[in-house]
């Protein structure tokens, strides 16, 4: 298992956003998380990538515990210093890309590898160029983010995350800010990564994509996992009434 999350609980004030969520992702797997807005999908991703801290439960990366619940029932994280290692295991692609506008495309991809991971500039640049080629935007290396289309920006963001050589890559609605035409080019590179056995968790509203690409699908609603299984099982033969109801909306 690359990541394992057990009995995750997360509250914002009085609002319980995640109620006892458990799931894990094996190496090379692609897991899609679907569900209505407000169901806790994004929060789950943000907990997995340490942008949010969990209130209870356990997070394990590659067999090592990052956070666990102590005797008093509160979640405890490993010391600050060790967190850096765990952060390096995971990458996150945002809905709004969040590229660094003052850096060129190439610098967006090389700055963290050089400054955070202390890799050599030559190696970081070679890796970055290779990734840009794979994303089909090698000619944009010296451009600035504002000069790119949304689809190109999102591909740069994916390349930036991959440049850190993470063990697992999380996507938080990567195509929700894009129009349908640009959505296709981003989904294409994610599909390509799936073929290369990149471990990924994708929160998405693109049902046909989720069905075609994922090994497993998780349907979340109201902070719990309602249904979880093979894409064909979840999409074609959902067991839960809530899942059926949700999928029906997309069929229309």
């Amino acid at each position: 298992m690359i990541i394992e999350m057990k009995n995750i609980r997360k509250q914002f004030g009085a609002l319980e956003v995640l109620k006892d969520i458990s799931f894990g992702v094996d190496s090379g797997e692609v897991v899609s998380i679907i569900g209505p807005s407000g169901s806790g999908k994004s929060t789950l991703l943000r907990c997995a990538t340490f942008l949010e801290t969990i209130d209870g439960g356990e997070i394990t990366y590659i067999g090592e515990t990052v956070a666990h619940t102590d005797g008093s029932g509160k979640a405890v994280y490993v010391p600050h210093k060790e967190m850096r290692k765990f952060r390096s295991y995971c990458g996150l692609v945002f809905q709004q890309f969040n590229l660094f506008p003052h850096y060129s495309v190439l610098k967006n991809l090389t700055d963290a590898p050089v400054e955070v991971q202390h890799r050599s500039r030559e190696e970081a640049e070679a890796t970055a160029m290779e990734l840009l080629r794979k994303m089909g935007i090698a000619d944009k290396a010296s451009a600035y983010p504002y000069q790119l289309s949304g689809g190109q920006q999102q591909r740069v963001a994916i390349a930036r995350a991959l440049a850190m050589k993470p063990e697992i890559l999380f996507f938080d609605e990567p195509t929700s800010a894009l129009d349908p035409e640009l959505t296709g080019e981003v989904l294409k590179v994610i599909r390509q990564l799936a073929e290369e056995k990149m471990t990924m968790v994708v929160v998405t509203h693109e049902m046909s994509f989720a069905k075609a690409v994922s090994n497993r699908v998780i349907f979340m609603d109201g902070g719990v996992i309602v249904e979880h299984g093979d894409p064909s099982a979840v999409f074609d033969d959902p067991k839960e009434e809530r899942t059926k109801q949700f999928l029906r909306v997309f069929e229309r």
């Binding site: 942008l51 969040n98 003052h102 955070v116």
Partner: protein, 215 residues
């Protein structure tokens, strides 16, 4: 007094004006950043002190502040410090301008989208790296127009040094005008200030241009 003596005397005064200007910027630009960061401190006492500091320095006349720094040591503690005139002047200017710059910085920092911080955090940047490499360069670009405004105001505010009888260009203009019963010193002073600010504007526009490569 010939016109050329008048001009050269006032040019010497303009140099002192430039001295106040440069020293004030050197002190207040970095101090303002420290104050802006302390204002966001986790410690409520620190935050409170900074809040009062900014309120008082923005809420009272700079002229009054200059007098307080100059005469304060004597009236409050009975100290008469030799050569205190110029240091007290610079102290007054720096502390006042730092308060304004702090607020400009704070506005710039708070205008940054949270996504920039989150992207940096996920990529493993430390807090210091995030601020220095990702946030600060973008903040500087955003606040340049407001900073230019303050800097231009400072050129003109240096004339307040006349309250401490410091011989910068405005004090000299008043003195020479009175002794020579001439209007000319004021015209010369006006031209000096305008030319100085024209230079400031030109320089600031050049700096802004260097950051035009991104949006």
């Amino acid at each position: 007094m010939t016109f050329s003596t008048m001009l050269s005397t006032m040019a010497a005064g303009m140099l002192r004006t430039g001295g106040i200007f440069v020293l004030t910027l050197l002190g207040s630009l970095p101090l303002g950043m420290i104050i802006a960061l302390l204002r966001k401190s986790k410690n409520p006492i620190v935050r409170g002190i900074i809040h009062v500091y900014i309120s008082v320095l923005r809420g009272t006349p700079l002229m009054l502040q200059l007098l307080v720094w100059y005469f304060g040591p004597y009236y409050l503690f009975g100290w008469s410090i030799r050569g205190w005139r110029f240091p007290s002047l610079i102290l007054g200017f720096i502390l006042n301008y730092a308060a304004y710059f702090a607020e400009i910085y704070r506005g710039g920092i708070e205008s940054m989208p949270v996504g920039q911080y989150e992207a940096a955090e996920v990529l493993g940047y430390t807090k210091a790296q995030t601020f220095l490499r990702i946030i600060l360069p973008q903040v500087i670009k955003r606040i340049m127009p407001s900073v230019t405004n303050e800097v231009i105001t400072l050129v003109k505010d240096t004339s307040l040094a006349f309250t401490l009888a410091y011989q910068e260009v405005f004090s000299l203009a008043k003195q020479i005008s009175a002794s020579q019963t001439s209007f000319m010193p004021f015209v010369i002073a006006g031209v000096f200030y305008f030319v100085a600010n024209y230079g400031v504007q030109f320089l600031m526009e050049r700096i802004e241009k260097t950051m035009d490569y991104y949006r």
